[in-house]
Amino acid sequence: MKLLVAVKQVAALDEDFEIRADGRDVEADFLIRDVNEWDDYSLEEALKIKEAAASPVEVVAVSVGPEDADEALRKCLAKGADRAIRVWDEAIEGSDSIAIARVLAAVARKESPQMLFAGVQSSDHAFASTGVATAAFLDWPHAAVVANLTYTPGGDTAVFRRELEGGVLHEMQIECPAVLTIQLGINTPRYASLRSIKQAAAKPIEVLSLQDLGIAAPDVGESGSLSRVRRMYIPDKGRAEMIEGDVEEQAARLAQIIKDAIGGAA
């Protein structure tokens, strides 16, 4: 029995950052890397199933990304994942969530897990589509924003709950294999101590190329994507002003602001 967990090494912005010369991304030097927060929860969910299981369960973490994604995978290994797979090829650069999903689906076909967990979204790009797109490529049933899961390893179905608007819960059953995108708060992710992370450095990370997965280069990267980034930029900041003084002064200031605004628009 196998559970596949998709993880992403996301980027957070450092204090003062600069946009790349081509204007389509932030200069890599200004990015702080970390595991996508949602993926901590999906890995934890898989580990919980593994630990509660009577029969052996293998938890495999998979990431699509360059070498620095190893850090995220190592954290997964530190926490208790049995194996880690990283897929990379220069051609993957520039992929959108659909192209990444194509790669993940190929890994899933190779590994044939009972279930694939992905985070609801990634904190940096927030497409919230990688998981469900993977399901589409696999032609597996899927469910998004899972907030509670009951699954006995080896079972043909899983029962889960999804949070809907207004505090309503959706309890559903799904046929396995399936793709679930996991919501924050479904569990309490464990702490990966530095010692366990260091020890995980000795564990191997399988690196797969597009060839290994039988994917043609044009199917990934910009050519394999349904969308592309045109421009990344910082919008002009909105302004706010606290108007002080007595009623008369406040009214005068307000009138001035309106006049300025109209004047500016004209």
């Binding site: 204090e15 101590s193 010692r195």
Partner: protein, 706 residues
């Protein structure tokens, strides 16, 4: 025949034989007990000790003979224990002398020395010893029964009354049985002596020398005055002989099984003392599979011996800031719990299965995680323990296990992850570490790019906390004006790791220490200075284990030197009434008591000490990573406790600190205890700046008007 006491006088051979059989049985029981204890200790992890055995023995002997540690902060208890100790020691040596004469030198070589003048002097000395012993014991009874100091209350803050190991009455019974047994042994000894004198009153050489046993003689006079005859004396003497003898033998037999064993365990513990127990925590060997202490057998045999050395004197219980503010922790109870646990699991011939050796939890003898996380690692317990029990490493080793399992406060977990990611506890970008320098009118050298005399290790709080940044800038100005050639590591510096290590995140600590050692290896400097006592401690005491050996000082010693050399000039005297809070890591940890006080004197401040100062300083509550763990809402905090203590000083104007975390903790506590406006909290550097600057815009003296 020269004057002596005839042993077993008028005893039937069978009675003498019986006594020897009983004596051998007592010694055998004692020996078995020692074997069981030693077997128990042997189940701990082996440890290698630095320092020569002889030097360690001498140090121990000095402590024991002077009673230095027992008399600290409790002179009466120390004095009474001294009486008991010396009384007991003399009586033991006396008995040993008789054995040497009667059972060894006599039978083997026909040599006897226990007679004549020596015998008379011997009698006098032992009579006096008995009086000392009894006086000490009676004071201890008075103390336990009537004075009842709170530290002798065995009520546990870490248990509820319904818990199976809440009840400590067995300890109380043992305490009293111990005192009474010794008192009765001493009393029967005197009456035995008196009865013998009455019995042999007809023999002039004995009766005429009776005042060489003054206590016995007084009692003998009394017995005779009450009408006791020679034969009455003989009968009483025989009865008391057996009672006294049997009690003494039972006492000896029970030593390894009762608190009496502290005679040996406390001495052993003192011999194995690690003077840097809390300052330099033990490393985890690279090859070690498991981290920290999960099972009782994960402690070293020295630590298991430590557990048995505890005499429940309650000084750690009294000194602990967590305990004082109602947290479920008493260092005493951690030690006693583990001792009970070790006795239960490690005393039999076979080691129970591992699952029964787990010391974590809420069962009898186990230590709960709430207890472990309540510790501030302030070292008050280690510092005050008269028998050199080292609580802090025990607690941290247990925390390491909790950290490995992620059993910690979510806020703490987050902070550790943040430190791993960014190298600082504020979650700020590395680039911003030296942002405070931008406000200065002069540049601060980058020690990575040019050689400096003094490398300033700034530390997290001093770098990122906005309130502390002002102090940091003040210190930079001071160094600049004094013409010190100094520099900082800019973004090359990481959190020093002192508190990370005390949390129990050893892996992260190793990473931080290695990063800083590497960064400092890339800089050329002669010595290091820091305003942060936490960084000071770990760089000074722990970095050497990671290959980083430096000369480092806290800013207070550097500034004092600059003042004395006239490189820092004071424009005026401040004339403030101040008190000084010794930071744990500067004071207790590294004995930096004098420099800040000397500076305050040079600043023209009137220093009024708080009751708890210097080695007995009271932790602000931020140590051991507690600054990253929210305190329970509404609960009293150590900093509050401290503010109330300071507020009791009449006319106090400034509460002076010399630690970034102290500034944060106490400025907050000043407000929450409603003392705002009565006095202010200031970093010593701020007072220095006020005294240095010419203009009279100083904010602090404004308080004088209030």
């Amino acid at each position: 025949m020269d004057l002596t006491r005839i042993l077993f006088e008028d005893f039937a051979p069978a009675a003498i034989g019986l006594f020897y059989v009983l004596a051998c049985a007592a010694v055998a029981t004692f020996g078995y007990g020692v074997y069981v204890q030693v077997r128990k200790y042997g189940r701990g992890v082996p440890v290698a000790f630095s320092g020569e055995l002889l030097a360690r023995f001498k140090a121990m002997l000095g402590t024991v003979l002077t009673h230095r540690t027992i008399a600290r902060r409790d002179r009466m208890a120390g004095g009474a224990h001294r009486l008991i100790f010396y009384g007991f020691l003399l009586l033991f040596l006396g008995t040993a002398t008789i054995t040497l004469d009667y059972d060894i030198l006599g039978p083997l070589f026909g040599v006897h020395f226990w007679h004549g003048k020596f015998y008379l002097g011997f009698s006098l000395v032992l009579d006096v010893a008995g009086v000392l012993l009894t006086a000490g014991l009676i004071y201890m009874m008075y103390r336990r029964g009537w004075l009842r100091p709170p530290k002798l209350d065995y009520a546990r803050p870490d248990r509820q009354p319904a818990d199976p190991d809440y009840d400590r009455s067995a300890y109380r019974r043992e305490d009293w049985a111990f005192l009474w047994t010794l008192v009765v042994i001493a009393a029967t000894g005197y009456f035995l002596e008196a009865a013998r004198l009455v019995w042999l009153a007809d023999k002039p050489d004995i009766w005429d020398t009776r005042w060489w046993s003054p206590a016995g003689a007084v009692l003998a006079e009394g017995l005779r005055a009450a009408g006791m005859t020679n034969t009455g004396g003989a009968a009483l003497r025989l009865e008391l002989w057996w009672l006294h003898g049997l009690l003494a033998l039972v006492f000896i037999a029970l030593i390894p099984f009762t608190k009496v064993k502290h005679i040996f365990t406390a001495a052993g513990s003192l011999m194995l003392r690690d003077p840097l127990a809390a300052q330099r925590l033990p490393r985890v060997p690279e090859e070690e599979k498991r981290v920290g202490a999960q099972y009782i057998t994960d402690f070293s045999w020295k630590q298991l011996l430590n557990l048995d050395a505890c005499t429940k004197c309650g000084r750690c219980h009294e000194a602990c800031p967590a305990r004082a503010t109602g947290a479920p922790l008493s260092p005493r109870d951690v030690i006693l719990s583990l001792r009970e646990f070790a006795n239960k699991t490690l005393s039999s011939a076979d080691l129970p299965p591992e699952v029964e050796l787990d010391v974590h939890g809420k069962g009898p003898g186990q230590v709960a995680m709430e207890t472990l996380w309540a510790c501030r690692t302030c070292m008050a317990c280690v510092e005050v323990c008269p028998v050199a029990i080292e609580h802090v490493p025990v607690i941290v080793q247990m925390r390491r296990k909790l950290v490995e399992e992620g059993q910690m406060d979510p806020q703490l977990k987050k902070t550790l992850q943040t430190i791993h990611k960014t190298g600082n506890s504020f979650g700020e970008s590395k680039r911003k570490r030296a942002a405070w320098t931008k406000a200065l009118p002069f540049p601060v050298r980058d020690a990575r790019k040019e050689p400096v005399d003094v490398l300033w290790f700034v530390g997290d709080y001093a770098s990122f906390d906005p309130r502390n940044q002002k102090v940091t800038q003040g210190f930079a100005s001071l160094l600049h004006e004094a013409g010190v050639n100094y520099g900082i590591l800019y973004e090359g510096e990481s959190n020093a790791g002192n508190d990370v290590r005390r949390v129990g995140e050893e892996g992260l600590y190793e990473t931080l220490a290695a990063a800083n050692v590497k960064a400092m290896a890339g800089a050329a400097f002669k010595s290091i200075v820091t305003t942060d006592p936490h960084s000071f401690n770990t760089i000074r005491n722990e970095y050497p284990d990671f290959g980083g050996r430096y000369e480092i000082q806290h800013y207070t010693t550097l500034v004092l030197k600059l003042l004395q050399e006239g490189r820092v000039k004071l424009a005026r005297k401040l004339g403030l009434r101040v008190t000084f809070h010794d930071p744990c890591h500067l004071g207790r940890f590294n004995k930096g008591y004098e420099a800040p006080r000397d500076i305050l004197r040079l600043l023209g401040c009137e220093l009024v000490e708080m009751g708890r100062c210097r080695a007995n300083s009271f932790c602000c509550g931020a140590g051991g990573g507690r600054i990253w763990i929210p305190d329970p809402v509404g609960a009293d905090k150590p900093a509050h406790n401290r503010m109330r203590e300071a507020a009791a000083i009449p006319g106090l104007q400034v509460y002076v600190v010399s630690c970034p975390k102290d500034l944060t903790m106490f400025e907050d506590a000043l407000k929450t205890t409603g003392n705002e406006g009565k006095f202010v909290v200031r970093e010593l550097i701020e007072l220095l700046r006020e005294a240095i600057e010419q203009e009279q815009a100083a904010p602090t003296p404004g308080v004088v008007a209030a």
